[in-house]
């Protein structure tokens, strides 16, 4: 989780990713950010997030995103 928060913080230092649950709905993360995050995650966790998982529910909060990573890791 900490690594993930760090990745996100790098993109938007001024956002509190621990509590924010509307990253997509409030347009804090745009499509460019999402792609950056996914490639960072790929690097850091060795997890490939497929395009079909790019839905608001998975990216609205750091927590949800972390759950997604775990789920994919688990399936592998």
């Amino acid at each position: 989780m900490e690594e993930l928060i760090k990745i996100l913080k790098d993109l938007h230092p001024d956002v509190d990713f621990d509590t924010c649950e509307t990253l997509i709905d409030d347009k804090i993360l745009d499509s460019f950010d999402i792609v950056s995050v996914i490639s960072e995650i790929n690097e850091e966790f060795d997890v490939v997030i497929p395009a079909e998982e790019i839905i608001p529910e998975n990216f609205n909060s750091a927590k949800a995103l972390y759950a997604l990573i775990k789920k994919i890791e688990d399936e592998d």
């Binding site: 499509s31 792609v35 996914i38 790929n42 079909e52 790019i54």
Partner: protein, 525 residues
């Protein structure tokens, strides 16, 4: 078929009335009949194309659904016997098989689109390389109306089924209705199956609220389309057609006129589409969100032609950026070219593809491709300039001043309007040249010497345009502030204003003899 023809109006009113008279079970079948009839009336040959696209989508998605069911049944019944690895393998195999049908479906749908719309464009470009005498003849191919819209809509459904996001529609007639729903067959928007299906196939009671919002949108749309766009379009054509006379500041005028024209034409048309759907109880997602109030290009593209933008993001930008080769490339670049460049590679490449295809989607011409690439350049440049902006704002603290907000809005409108001039001029070099003269040959006299009365607009036309502009701006500002213009409870006020607006459209609309040429600008896309 155009929104302002008597035929279109009749084709909408008759089904709309029947819709609430027939038993509710007959509602969606009636829409299907109306949609087929609508397309048939436009040109009966079109039906073959849309039918093949539908059939491919139907068969492929049904087969994909079957694979999913079988896989699930297998895993469920063998829950205790198989290991995690085996389960993964079964799932992987299923995915591969599904992918075959995905590809078949997309090849057929996109293949029809490419062949009908782009064959001659390819031939023309090959001919540029060939010597005289060996040139290939252009082919005589019909381009079915709205093919770009329904093809993309169908593709999104097929991909969503493949991704497991959407369960396949088993009833072929329902799917056919999704592919061909007639209000969308003029100029979109591109709807997603999950958004549209619940209300499209649902049973609807006649609700005053649907009628009132629907009628408001329809009449407001006709106002923008008929009073403004139809009036100003001939002037845009005149200004951009005669490039020897109309250069310098004329280009600037043409640019502003076209911005107003396209806005009214396209948002007006979408208002009519959404309004008609609303009257039928069908919810179509908004395609615009006051785009001319955007403060930068990125925001503009989140608020203009939204259904197209999200389509390209979801089905091209994301899959391309997160596919394995791209991730590998990203990793490699970081290692070899440094973090700074490496981080950007993915976004730059995927965006390039998105904007190239967006341009191409708008029409088979280099003008559109260059237009798309110009958008790409501007978006990427503003992305790179962001740290600089941040510095600037850190120093000057103007960001929250209203005047600065207006500056940003005007800047965005001007920039987008300038890029859009590629729609208007004959070819790419000419467009660059004309935009150039805007800066080199400033001639403010044209505003006082009467030349603006020589482009098909009379003084009376200018007054109508100015008044309309004020009305549209006022309504937009109110909408931006409150989220709505007239409250739902203000029954009398709403309908009185609508009656007035309707009279205004009938009297001040630019329609009838002499106005035939104004087919929707977005019709051809």
């Amino acid at each position: 078929m155009i929104f302002t023809s008597a035929g279109f109006i009749a084709a909408v009113i008759i089904p709309a009335v029947l819709y609430y008279l027939l038993p509710k079970k007959a509602q969606w079948p009636l829409l299907l009949i109306a949609s087929i009839g609508f397309y048939f009336a436009a040109d009966k040959r079109y039906l073959i194309f849309i039918f093949v696209t539908f059939l491919a989508a139907y068969i492929c998605t049904i087969l994909m659904g079957r694979i999913d069911l079988k896989t699930k049944a297998y895993i469920d019944s063998n829950k205790d016997k198989i290991t995690k690895e085996q389960k993964k393998e079964v799932k992987g195999r299923a995915k591969t098989r599904k992918r075959i049908f995905l590809i078949i479906g997309l090849i057929i749908a996109l293949g029809i689109l490419c062949v009908t719309k782009y064959t001659n464009f390819v031939i023309d470009n090959i001919n540029l390389l060939l010597k005289d005498g060996s040139k290939i003849r252009e082919m005589n191919i019909i381009v079915p109306a709205a093919i770009s819209y329904y093809t993309f809509q169908t593709c999104s459904y097929v991909i969503d089924v493949y991704r497991g996001k959407t369960t396949p529609q088993k009833n072929p007639f329902k799917l056919m209705l999704f592919v061909s729903f007639f209000p969308l067959l003029v100029q979109g928007p591109i709807c997603r199956y999950d958004d549209l299906a619940p209300t499209l196939f649902g049973e609807h009671k006649l609700l005053e609220k649907n009628i009132s919002t629907g009628l408001t949108r329809i009449i407001w749309g006709y106002f923008k389309k008929v009073v403004v766009a139809n009036r100003i379009a001939p002037a845009v054509i005149a200004l951009t057609g005669d490039t020897d006379t109309y250069k310098g500041t004329f280009v600037f005028v043409a640019m502003l006129f076209y911005a107003f024209d396209l806005y009214c034409d396209f948002t007006g048309g979408i208002d009519i589409t959404i309004g008609i759907s609303k009257v039928l109880g069908v919810d179509v997602k908004e395609n615009f969100n006051l785009p001319y109030f955007s403060k930068n290009i990125k925001e503009y593209w989140n608020r203009w032609h939204i259904s197209m933008g999200t389509w390209f993001t979801d089905y091209i930008f994301y899959p391309v950026s997160v596919c394995t080769p791209m991730l590998k490339l990203s990793k490699w670049s970081r290692e070899h070219l440094g973090q700074k460049i490496g981080k950007r590679v993915t976004v730059y490449l995927a965006s390039l593809l998105v904007w190239f295809t967006t341009g191409l989607w708008h029409g088979p011409a280099w003008n559109f491709i260059v237009w798309g690439l110009m958008n790409y350049v501007v978006i990427m440049a503003s992305q790179e300039l962001e740290p600089l902006y941040a510095k600037f704002h850190g120093k000057f603290k103007v960001k929250d001043k209203p005047l600065y907000g207006i500056f940003e809005i005007v800047r965005t409108i001007l920039l987008m309007s300038m890029i859009r001039m590629f729609d208007c001029y004959r070819n790419v070099p000419l467009t660059f040249k004309m935009i150039g003269t805007m800066f080199t040959k400033v001639n403010l006299k044209i505003f006082s010497d009467g030349s603006l009365l020589g482009i098909g607009l009379t003084a009376a036309d200018y007054i109508v345009l100015a008044v309309s502009f004020v009305i549209i701006l006022t309504v937009s500002i109110i909408k931006n502030k409150r989220g709505h213009v007239i409250s739902d409870n203000a029954f009398t006020l709403r309908y009185s204003l609508l009656a007035l607006l309707l009279m205004g459209v009938i009297v001040f609309g630019a329609y009838g003899t002499g106005y035939d040429m104004t087919q929707f600008i977005y019709n051809q896309f």
